[in-house]
Symmetry: C2
Subunit: 202 residues, 2 copies
């Protein structure tokens, strides 16, 4: 689609770089901004710039933060000796949303993936080992994706961590709460059978 | 979802003002920008600002333009005496994409809609009448939505234009090219039967 203005075309091009945004959606965003007051566009642009230039990554866990060390790491009521290892910031938010975790995090910044050329040195693994060594960490929880990459990363980390005397655990894999058995895939069902847990009546 | 940073939260809020963008999508956009180079965010923000502050609306037809008068109005190979009346800029692009129209446009900026409180004075109708009066306009084509608002606007315009001796036409309504008859809705099918055209074998 040829656009009647180069300025519009440039905005549409930039919007369509966002994930999942095609040129039609990008055009919709641009025309929406043109239709609205100027300050709407200003605050969008400004908040993007502020976020990109001022946001920090926690010096300890690499979570997104407004301060040098994030609120979770600074929170003394959280168990600093339990570290939950996750792939990225979104996973921290997901686990925080459960409201069931009182320890701290470590964001790896990705997963080991030979296909995508991501090796252990591209991730914040050394820093994690240093954290374990320097602090009295007693438990590491792998909260990684149930994919080959997630499993590879967990395996690599477990090898690196075996010299420390700490508990290593991983998220339980099993049938989702609310799921009907017949629709669960066979691998998940198999794993949840293998790792069955003692029944506790409520 | 509680976000770990106020800067991120503000960007997510701004993104979620865009049409069809919820907080999850907005967060995806923000994290994408954080993951990428700083200049990606810079050029997005800059192009939004440039577009919103520098873009013009053609003084003649109210189409989006980089110049005071748009390229279509300035193009001397276009028939300046045929004006196609459309609701907004997107319709201009849609018609231009057909490559079948050689006249000029007039963008109304909306449709008459008593429910939404949009009256004739909120649209660029007076300017259209002035254009018709001052230039030797010979034909007006209504290319408006096939909705109550579109029909109301066309009716209002036709009344206003009846004092000028010009041809007034409207887009043909009918079965879409490629559509199977049985799936066409009855109103469209009825209209296309009523307005049947002489058969020309190719």
């Amino acid at each position: 689609m040829e656009l009647p203005s180069k300025l519009l075309d440039s905005a549409v091009n930039e919007f369509s770089r966002l994930p999942g945004v095609g040129r039609k959606t990008a055009l919709r965003y641009a025309l929406h901004l043109l239709k609205n007051e100027k300050h709407t566009s200003h605050s969008l642009a400004q908040s993007i710039l502020n976020m990109r230039t001022q946001i920090k990554f926690c010096a300890q866990c690499y979570n997104i933060s407004d301060t040098d060390v994030c609120e979770i790491c600074l929170n003394l009521s959280r168990v600093q000796t339990t570290i939950c290892v996750v792939q990225d910031v979104r996973d921290v938010m997901a686990i925080e949303n459960t409201g069931m975790y009182r320890g701290v995090y470590h964001v790896l910044g990705g997963l080991i993936s030979p296909i995508e050329g991501i090796g252990p040195s591209d991730l914040f693994i050394d820093v994690l080992l240093k954290r374990v060594q320097e602090n009295k960490v007693s438990e590491i929880i792998f909260a990684l994706s149930a994919t080959t990459e997630g499993d590879t990363t967990a395996f690599y980390l477990s090898k690196k961590l075996q010299s420390f005397s700490i508990t290593i655990s991983t998220l339980a894999r099993g049938v989702s709460v609310g799921d009907e058995l017949e629709y669960a895939d066979e691998i998940t069902l198999g794993r949840s059978l293998q790792n069955r847990i003692p029944y506790k009546g409520h």
